[in-house]
């Protein structure tokens, strides 16, 4: 298995991490190393084995349908980069 530059570029875009072209090969190599390491799992016979969805044997707790949160705009916006008039803002999205 060996990752090509295009795959690394695509994955980096999916993860929204900017990767300069000159770093692609190095990253591909490192990811290859890790993928090569995890490859050994193919040795394990997992036919009919349930994939774990949770390590605990609990059942999901349920919350009562009451309003007991929210109304805390100051807290919500306290660390925002560029809030305006109660909104978060991002660079303009052209749809």
């Amino acid at each position: 298995m060996s990752l090509d530059r295009e795959t690394v570029r695509r994955i980096a875009y999916l993860a929204r991490i900017k990767v300069e072209d000159e770093r692609l090969d190095q990253i591909a190599g490192e990811l290859d190393g890790i993928l090569g390491f995890v490859e050994q799992l193919s040795e394990v016979d997992t036919d009919g084995v349930e994939a774990m969805t949770s390590v605990t044997e609990l059942t999901m707790p349920l919350r009562a349908d009451v309003i007991n949160d929210g109304d805390c705009r100051d807290k919500v916006l306290a660390n925002a980069t560029d809030p305006f008039d109660g909104f978060y803002t991002v660079p303009k999205v052209v749809e």
Binding site: L14, M60, R63, D65, D69, L77, G86, Y88, T89, V90
Partner: protein, 485 residues
Amino acid sequence: MTYRIVGETGEWEVVIGLEVHAQVVSNSKLFSGASTEFGGAPNTHVSLVDAAMPGMLPVVNEKCIEQAVRTGLGLKAKINNYSVFARKNYFYADLPQSYQISQFDKPIVGAGVVILDMPDGTTREIGIERLHLEQDAGKSMHDQDPKRTFVDLNRSGVALMEIVSDPDMRSPEEAGIYVRKIRSIVRYLETCDGNMEQGSMRADVNVSVRKVGSTELNTRCEIKNVNSVRFVMQAIEAEAQRQVELVESGGEVEQQTRQFDPSKGETKAMRSKEFAHDYRYFPDPDLLPIEFSEEYVEAIKATLPELPDEKKQRYMSEYGLSAYDAGVLVVDRETGHYYEAVLGKNRDPKLAANWVISNLFGALKAESKSIEESPVSAEQLGQLLDLIADDTISGKIAKDVFEKMIASGDDPAVIVEKEGLKQITDTGAIEAAVDDVIANSPEQVAQFQGGNEKIAGWFVGQIMKATQGKANPGMVNKMLKEKLG
């Protein structure tokens, strides 16, 4: 009614599947205690969980689970006692976690069926593939500022039910009726308010085309977030036409996400393949599987109201209504309630149905009012029917009285009394009017006696005119026959 697109190379059929997003009726959000109330100043119905602050965790709202099960039961669907929340990963301005908590391969509700009542009285069955629970996103506003998009997270995390149909629909009309039927069912169940203007219900429409006779499922396009029944129908029409033209001119339909522009009546691509999403679904490790017992489902089942399909059957069998009339009356819960209230204990079901469907609906439509806003209460309409039944007024006069009820909101008896519209059943008074008309119409009497029986109607008209329509028509007829021989 078969819907066909006539192209240059022959006739085409359209294949439609719908994903309806219905906002769950609940006080608080799917995974946080913030309010679901519509509107509100930006970012006020937002908890730290909804804003995806570091370390915040979701805890599921029991009401939302119940509502999904309830809706599944209403769709006669398989309820899955074990289901899993999964993360759907993508970046967007109004998606603070950069993933939507949804359900993927283990939804809470599986296959079901929806019955469409077609205008010709026939029915169509549309398969439901699944219903799953998921979070709504926030709202981006692109037109407030030249450089920035504003983001309000008030909707972020509100519970949605995504109801996915099989690709069973074959015309815009069917799709429209399907959306209305889903709306009707969730409103009966009180699991979604069905308010499309506020976005409580919206549809993603999947459209593909194929040559008539073909059974292949061709590449489809998904038209996102269509927010009215009319637009659903228009979007399908436009998209099907586009695909036919594309294929006939040698092109190929590309799997795409598209958007409907109602002002232009056309769909346009939002993203093409190169930007296609890879959502990387996986079970949300912050949550555990949703598990419940058969008893839990049974307990919810026990609280289901009579749903439109059953109600329609009952109206047909119990009241002898036509399929069409019954279908119209059950369309929403309020109409059914209204109709049954008009019916009271022993009023004539067909007469009541006629009055509700022709007179009341007409009047409400003219005033753009819903049945809950009707100026004439069901009780009052029932009283009007009683006045007809006991011969206080004729059916014809009743129409005038009804108009006055709509305008004033007064009880029918009050209007009849005030306007002196009471039917004349006094034999003497009717006899005088009959005699008077006969005496003044020798020519017509002669014609009648000469064998022109049609002229009897003219006599009735004259007598009614003379009594301002108040004479009991049965008595008038009877007496005329006696006098004219």
